[in-house]
């Protein structure tokens, strides 16, 4: 079953390269996504067996992340139907194909039970997301791709070294890098090597996860990629990286080194919050702003895990909330870009008036991103704060509150500027460099009439609204009510980390 889950998207991805016709490719994409999520949800009922003599297996953590990935991917693939209008056939082939590869590699990350395999999966996700980020080959996007590639590869190299250290640490007992074996023998690992490995692994996976100060690739990549891709990056990819951090955490918990592990994570988390505050305040590019808010939320996750106890449950819950929130927020930015052809905050005005639906979505985005009820992020962030208070980490709690408040100030300032007031009447014309997403840039010529805005408003197609709506609804529901099955799963998962 797992193998099917792995190789089916891979195969389809291969098939897509030779498949003619965008429609059929889109259908293929959606079909795959549907099947994938169907399988994943069957796993909630029937637990899949380990395969490849224990290389692949699915525990609560993996299942959690996997389902998030799968749902978000499904939504994004729906969104893509309305997103691509007219771009070159080849580009489309490549895009869809690598999208599917990306999916399968993310699946690999979530199901792998072996550290080596885990890292292979992560590196694979990196490589397969390169063509997606570099979809429109402008200078900025190439630069972003290059940075993304270099920094992530280096990070993963360090993580690889870390796994080797882990193997060395377990040389005379665990004898291998299988997660389960390590968990059993965790107590006998030789400490210095183990600690070194943890440090390397954390830095490596932290780089991929976008924790400051390894974050610099993140804002560039997210802002330059096409919006659906940014949604996938910050909704799925970062969580996969987070999963690898959690795996390290599992071992540390088993080895009784939680203190060591959590101190590092809390440090990184606080730094990320600080960095997010610095760059969100007075940010001119709204996609960059949301990217930095991803950094912030990764920081929150790290802090939650570091605090332990209720914090682990909280941050696992926050994984879900944040993934969907970020997903729909970036999709909304896609809509915005379609309508305004600019990522500059200063050139987007009066959204709420000109495009009511997008405006409301953006508003929901503001509230959800900054953890305002009734959105689920509120509960999860509150739980993490609770963990901090419960554990008497008053300094952490204080900094957490302070930075969240400052970040809210920044985000609210920007988004309120965008949604309120009267709409700008003349559409904004720019030099082609300023809008990397050429596929969307192609609308400009039609829009350069005073009524361009109205016209684009009509173009706000259902396929670009429904997925966003769906995601928003999920986050909303999670704010009111956590269904028991999810609760059990979260309990089980946090149990793995000693929560």
């Amino acid at each position: 079953m797992l193998l099917f889950l792995l190789f089916f998207p891979l195969a389809i991805g291969g098939l897509v390269f030779i498949l003619p016709g965008q429609k059929s490719r889109n259908r293929m994409l959606i079909f795959t996504a549907l099947l994938h999520s169907a399988c994943v949800f069957s796993f909630w009922k029937f637990k899949p067996a380990f395969v490849l003599n224990g290389f692949l297996g699915l525990d609560a953590l993996g299942l959690l992340i996997l389902s998030v990935v799968s749902v978000l991917f499904l939504m994004v693939s729906f969104y893509l139907m309305g997103y691509f209008k007219n771009e070159s056939d080849l580009a489309h082939r490549i895009f869809i194909g690598f999208l599917l590869f990306f999916l399968s590699f993310m699946t690999l990350v979530t199901v792998s039970r072996h550290f080596g395999l885990l890292l292979i999966g992560i590196e694979a996700t990196t490589l397969s997301s390169v063509p997606l980020i570099n979809f429109v080959k402008t200078r900025q996007s190439i630069e972003a791709t290059w940075k993304f590639l270099m920094i992530c590869l280096i990070g993963i190299a360090l993580a690889l070294l870390g796994t080797y250290f882990l193997a060395v640490a377990g040389m005379d007992n665990a004898q291998s890098l299988f997660l389960d074996k390590l968990l059993i023998h965790a107590k006998e690992l030789s400490l210095p090597w183990f600690k070194m490995s943890v440090i390397f692994l954390l830095i490596g996976c932290g780089t991929k996860m976008g924790l400051a100060p390894m974050h610099p690739w993140l804002p560039d990549a997210h802002s330059q990629a096409p919006s659906p891709v940014s949604a996938l990056l910050s909704g799925c990819l970062l969580n996969c990286a987070f999963l690898s951090v959690l795996r390290v955490g599992q071992v540390c918990f088993a080895a009784g080194q939680t203190q060591f592990f959590s101190s590092i994570l809390i440090l990184l988390g606080i730094i990320s919050l600080g960095v997010a505050y610095v760059f969100i305040l007075g940010q001119e590019d709204y996609k960059r702003m949301f990217a930095y808010s991803s950094v912030e939320h990764m920081g929150i996750l790290a802090i939650g895990i570091g605090l332990g106890g209720a914090g682990i449950y909280g941050s696992l819950l926050h994984v879900i909330n944040n993934a969907f929130t970020k997903g729909f927020v970036f999709l909304v930015t896609g809509n915005l870009y379609k309508q305004y052809h600019s990522k500059k905050v200063s050139e987007v005005k009066g959204v709420l008036r000109a495009y009511p639906i997008t405006g409301i979505f953006l508003l929901a985005g503001l509230l959800a991103v900054s953890g305002v009820p009734p959105f689920g992020t509120f509960i999860s962030e509150l739980m993490i704060l609770y963990a901090a208070v419960r554990g008497h980490h008053y300094v952490v709690a204080f900094l957490y509150c302070l930075f969240l408040a400052l970040i809210f100030i920044g985000i609210a300032d920007i988004i309120l500027k965008m949604i309120q007031g009267g709409p700008v009447h003349e559409p904004v014309i720019q030099s082609p460099n300023c809008h990397p997403e050429r596929s969307e840039g192609s609308h400009i010529c039609q829009d350069s009439s005073p009524f361009g805005l109205r016209m684009t408003n009509n173009r706000e197609s259902w396929s670009m609204i429904m997925p966003i709506l769906f995601l928003i609804v999920i986050v909303l529901i999670l704010g009111f009510y956590i269904p028991p099955f999810l609760d059990n799963m979260l309990q089980k998962a946090s149990g793995l980390l000693g929560g």
Binding site: W217, L281, G282, P373, I379, L382, C401, F408, Y481
Partner: protein, 665 residues
């Protein structure tokens, strides 16, 4: 309880319906009106039923209701005890009045905004405020509180094409949301102590003094921002002029009171604080009261003026609360009960008359199209209803006898005097401080409203262009009349409300009210009202005498005596700024009172100019610099994201080295 649930149900469904029908304004408005009336009716029933219960079970009788919804920390657990009921009472009254008024106000609104959505939001605000008042679980409380902030933000920025309005809304959102973090921190500390987020459990658990001091400070900041204590009041004077008048009525009548409610709720949960906490509260209250009214004196924008008066009245409320807490700390039940009762009653009264004032100010602005008092004058003839209602409001807010403000301020004074009698030196000193502050507040408030009413409604009209002032219609007049009637009712027959206030106060003090004390409080009030009735009789006699004496003179009318000036013009009247100048000059050192004058020169003088202004200290000298520093700091650090891949790689290396050194030296 069932009544409350019914009214909540009505509000929820109708708000949804309104949202659905928001395209057709007619339907949505009708729907809004009737659902509001029904819901508020049921709500008042529920509040009344709790307050009227004459059970000897003790003060802490509360009716509960719980929905089995699982959330990690929170659950949907609500209940009404007298304290909540008391606030529900004023909430429903004011939102009823404000809602009906708003219905009339928006009837001929022809702007770009969608009225239906606005009305739905109004319902939503009522719902969440009710939830805040009845929540018995900290997380539910926080969520409702946060929602309250957000929804009210959208109501305030109804006309957000205006830059001013956007700025005001932004300040409001920021201020209150920052406050929320303090509250979250506080409640979580409580929860961690109690092991549960339910208020009942928290009330059971004892808190060590140090912790309770921390909690008090957090609560003071968190709730104080909402309630508008100086120096956290910055959002108030911006938000009120920006918002539509009925929204400001709701804001200043109910929303900021909910801050007070929160403070009281914390006092219910954490019973005893170290003595300096209530003393600090008293001092802050004195500062807010005096400062608020002084700033109000310096304002010439009618709604700004009213906003600062809200700050002043919050100060008065907190004076009562503070002396009550001090009495509680000294175990002087008389002082405690009196003070808290006074605070509660003044909360109610202020809600009523401030609502009245804002609504009437709204209809003034609506007919004059300006909020600047310097362009008004002589409106009493043109807007008789509005004028007289405003007069009643200002008489009440000046706490003059016959009106409700007097009753509550009398109680506050009484409690402070009791404090002077029953406490030791330390207590006496602060009671005296309170007395002085309150006396000063009373005098200044009278001065300020003499100015406001006189300049707006009396004398000649100052505005250059002739307006067609049209008086507001019944839907706007009705609510104002309702509020005015309540003002007079409480002023002349205070027993009922005082009784309710006692009920609520017992929840705070935790001791049931001894009957003797109740009598000792009630009797003077009754006697005072009797004196007032004597006064009325005397007035009638005088009036009759006057009528009798003037029976065979025909009254002849002339111009006002211009003291020898041949052509007195309306511009020669005393303006608002000149009226307030003497007192402001006396306090100029604290107010940064400044007068810029361009004097006319030469034989054929060109036009001169004279304008006076006061500076809001905490805004100008604290918050603006603070935000400036924050922004500057973040701009200073932008170099981190330099764009060089090599540098980024260096970061990774550095972190690696640091961690290795830190962890494995």
């Amino acid at each position: 309880m069932i009544f409350l649930l019914v009214s909540l149900f009505i509000l929820t469904t109708s708000s949804l319906l309104i949202f659905l029908f928001c395209q057709s304004r007619k339907i949505s408005a009708r729907l809004f009106l009737w659902s509001l009336v029904a819901a508020c009716g049921f709500g008042l029933l529920s509040a009344g039923s709790v307050l009227c219960q004459k059970t000897m079970v003790g003060p802490l009788t509360s009716v509960d209701f719980q929905v089995p919804v699982h959330l990690p920390l929170g659950e949907f657990y609500i209940g009404i005890d007298p304290l909540s009921a008391f606030f529900l009472l004023l909430l429903f009254i004011v939102s009823l009045a404000a809602g009906i008024y708003g219905y009339g106000y928006l009837r001929d609104y022809s702007g770009p905004r969608n009225v239906g959505v606005h009305l739905a939001l109004f319902h939503l605000l009522t719902i969440v405020m009710v939830l805040v008042l009845v929540a018995k679980n900290a997380v539910l409380f926080l969520a409702a509180w946060e929602l309250m902030t957000v929804v009210s933000y959208f109501l305030i920025t109804f006309t957000n094409d205006n830059e001013q309005v956007r700025k005001a809304g932004y300040i409001y959102l920021i201020a209150t949301h920052v406050g929320v973090f303090c509250l979250a921190f506080m409640f979580l500390v409580m929860g961690a102590q109690a092991g549960s987020m339910n208020f009942d459990r928290m009330t059971m658990t004892p808190f060590p003094l140090g912790l309770s001091a921390l909690l008090f400070m957090l609560a003071f900041v968190g709730f104080g921002i909402k309630a508008g204590f100086i120096p956290f009041h910055v959002w108030l004077p911006h938000a009120h002029p920006a918002a539509p008048s009925y929204i400001s009525a709701l804001l200043s009548g109910v929303l900021i009171k909910i801050g007070i409610y929160g403070l009281m709720r914390v006092m219910v949960i954490v019973k005893d604080f170290p003595l300096w906490c209530p003393v600090g509260l008293l001092i802050m209250a004195a500062i807010s009261g005096v400062g608020g009214v002084l700033y109000a004196l310096g304002q010439h924008e009618i709604k700004k003026l009213l906003a600062y008066h809200s700050i002043e009245n919050i100060g008065i409320i907190a004076l009562g609360l503070g002396i009550g807490m001090i009495g509680h700390a000294y175990h002087q039940d008389t002082v405690a009960l009196l003070g808290i009762t006074a605070a509660l009653l003044h909360t109610f009264n202020h809600a009523i008359f401030k609502g009245l004032l804002f609504l009437s100010a709204g209809s003034v602005i609506r007919s004059t199209h300006t909020g600047d008092m310097e362009h008004m004058g002589g409106l009493l003839k043109r807007l008789p209803w509005t004028g007289h209602l405003f007069l009643i409001g200002s008489l009440s807010i000046c706490a003059l006898p016959l009106f409700n403000g007097f009753i509550s301020e009398w109680l506050v004074f009484r409690s402070l005097l009791e404090g002077v009698f029953h406490l030791d030196i330390f207590g006496i000193i602060f009671s005296i401080l309170g007395i002085v502050a309150l006396a000063l507040i009373g005098g200044l408030a009278a001065l300020c409203f003499a100015k406001a009413f006189g300049v707006i409604f009396l004398g000649h009209n100052r505005s250059s262009e002739g307006h067609d002032y049209k008086e507001c219609d019944l839907t706007m007049r009705g609510p104002m009349v309702l509020l005015a009637v309540i003002c007079l009712w409480v002023g002349l027959f205070p027993t009922t409300m005082v009784d309710y206030a006692f009920q609520a106060a017992q929840v705070l003090t935790g001791v049931p009210m001894p009957l003797a004390l109740k009598v000792a409080i009630m009797n003077p009030l009754l006697l005072a009202t009797r004196v007032l009735s004597y006064g009325i009789i005397i007035f009638v006699i005088l009036a009759l005498l006057r009528r009798f004496l003037m029976r065979h003179y025909l009254v002849h009318l002339t111009e006002t005596w211009g003291c020898g000036y041949t052509k007195p013009s309306s511009r020669m009247q005393y303006t608002a700024s000149s009226f307030a100048k003497p007192i402001l000059k006396i306090f100029r050192s604290v107010l940064f009172f400044k007068v810029e004058a361009v004097r006319p020169k030469g034989y054929f003088p060109t036009e001169g100019k004279l304008s006076s202004s006061v500076k809001d200290v905490s805004e100008i000298f604290f918050f603006r610099p603070l935000f400036f520093v924050i922004k500057k700091f973040s701009r200073k650090l932008k170099w981190i994201q330099s764009g060089h891949t090599q540098i980024y790689i260096l970061y990774i290396l550095f972190l690696l080295v640091i961690l290795l050194v830190w962890k494995l030296h």
